[in-house]
Symmetry: none
Subunit: 203 residues, 4 copies
DNA sequence: AATGAATGAGCATTCATTCAT
DNA sequence: TATGAATGAATGCTCATTCAT
């Protein structure tokens, strides 16, 4: 087995274990067992426990970025692109509960621990949204008074909270379609009824 | 010193310590030291470490619910109410970074551990949003196709992510006013420019 | 309530608690609760936890000594006296499981801790047996080659082990009568069949 | 060093420490220090503190069973066998004070905690005695009215109490020979003088 | 005498990391 | 490269004892 395979195997195993037990409750030996390697072997590929988490996250989110970008390339309309992003995100989170866990929980937990977090692929992912918005503004399809860097956070936050609730089974499991519609509806057209649109003019 | 004072003192201390170190890295002795009581004293008021976290959270969020409800009582218009909620939340999170930490990080971390979490005051807080939306729908001010229980998550998620970024100082610190405007703008009227409104009709 | 009553109440409570949980697992607060006094009150009557145990033991064994001596006074024959002692002991241990526990377990456990243990009433109790043996030897009813101070230990040990097993329910619960007969039989006439008596002559 | 050596080393160390301080007062770190291993190493070989005690006991008593059985194999006469058992037990207890401690004190202390204690080697040891008695009864050398399962307890109890007193140095240290004679005397022929034998007939 | 809140020393157990093989 | 036995620092919680009231 090549070194790269083992590195990969450990990441896959770690993703499962972190998702199941959480970063702090996961033991290195759990990961080693899941990956079918010895405890010590892990330290040949990673510096420490946090390093594993960062790697897990980067790998997963990297794949998501690639897939999402590919989907968007085929669609010129920023509105449609936003819709695609939303559906893709919700679908991915529903399909890959482990990744969802890691994003929603461990990501936050360890932000405090990882100073150079800004460099990870997560920002690439978020910037997909701000880029869509910027393009929409250029095309005069989106309002000019929206600040893309704020909007990307608001949109991601909404998506994230929604899929978090799914994962915890705290509420009825709305379908990706229902939830996707709601979020696209809200972000693109807002909550206001069209006849009252005048009440919320662009400031 | 009355028992209630000591209970309160421990909660205040725990809030500080959890915010600074995170739940898992916080030691009971840290909290005891911060509260100027003996380690054992903490166990006269709380059952265990998680119990402290839940109490911290309930106290803080309970206060926030009270204040927010009071603010909203004076305002009949659901659109304005949503705006008030948004501004109040962002202001509170910016003012009380410890509470923000606890909501954004520890809350998630321990959701898995606390099964009966549904009963805490956090749901009261979220339901303020869905109640506003329901009232708006009744008054035909808000779209009928918005599902309040989904929308409340989307809105909270957006707010939460925004204030999380503030806390981490990951991005330029937009003012509460700027961020509040963005979020009210997006949720109430959506991102779409009014001339393109037709592109995103109610489905 | 007089002081002596409270002292007594605590001893009764402690006997129950020690028997149920064992000395090391018993908490002062358990005893206080059982005795319906405050934790601190216990320290008005006893110096520390071990002091309570010694008091419990002395009180119980003292009562047993009194009762046993009274029973024996009416019986002049040392052989019958030994029988009475045996039956009385087994009956007492079966009736008062708490005392049995304390004798069998805690007594041993704390012997190491209590240096002046020799002074307690337990020796009075054991000496009842050696006194019976000495009297029997004086009357030429018992063998002269038996050393009373060793025999008292052997007899007590046999009785103690037997009632210990009862308490633990490790084996079929033989009746006091059966067990008493066995022990009297063994100690007085030995195990040997009478026709083989010659095989085990006085050495 | 092989794993089995370390396991053994820990048991030897634990025996010393338990004997010196007692089970409840012994700290894991004491045992680790005595065994010259790290605290954590102990948990590679034992599940918990009680597991160590049970192991200590099983190892020691197992060795004693082996040795005793071997000694008895060479002797066909049940009367002599009982004498051999008695002498062997007293000798072993006098030689190995740590084992004596563990049998007499810790064993009792933890019987309450270990429900499946019945399965340990201690029963093998006790059953040596009842087997001897049964064989003696078969050969008509011992009385038929003796119940082997009760007699084994009485005999063990007598032996145990005797060696317990030695260990505590509560009384003059009689020699193994003196004490052995007394106990064999009592158990085989009883206390009664031969001329009064008629006073204690088989019931 | 009585209370019971407060104290703080004490300890079993875990687990990330190392390193001899 | 790979192993997994060994390490030992770290900590939540308990409970005998004290003492202000």
């Amino acid at each position: 087995m090549k070194a790269i395979d083992k590195h990969s195997k450990i990441i896959v195993a770690a993703t499962k274990v972190f998702a199941k037990k959480g970063f702090f409750n996961a033991r290195i030996s759990d990961i080693a067992k899941e990956a079918k390697v010895a405890d010590g072997t892990i330290y040949l590929y990673f510096n420490n426990k946090i390093d594993i988490l960062v790697s897990v996250f980067d790998k997963e989110i990297g794949a998501l970025v690639t897939q999402t970008v590919k989907l968007l390339d085929a669609e010129p309309d920023p509105g449609k692109q936003l819709e695609i992003f939303v559906i893709k995100h919700l679908t991915a989170m529903k399909k890959n509960k482990n990744l969802a866990e890691v994003i929603q929980i461990e990501l936050r937990q360890t932000n405090k621990l990882i100073k150079d977090y800004r460099n990870t692929k997560f920002n690439d992912y978020l910037n997909i949204v701000s880029d869509i918005i910027k393009e929409g503004q250029k095309q005069k399809i989106f309002r000019q008074d929206i600040i893309p860097d704020i909007a990307k956070r608001i949109i991601f936050g909404g998506l994230d909270e929604l899929s978090r609730v799914w994962n915890l089974s705290l509420e009825t499991n709305y379908s990706v379609e229902d939830a996707g519609f709601q979020i696209v509806r809200i972000f693109l057209s807002g909550i206001a009824a069209s006849e009252t649109e005048g009440k919320f003019p662009p400031l």
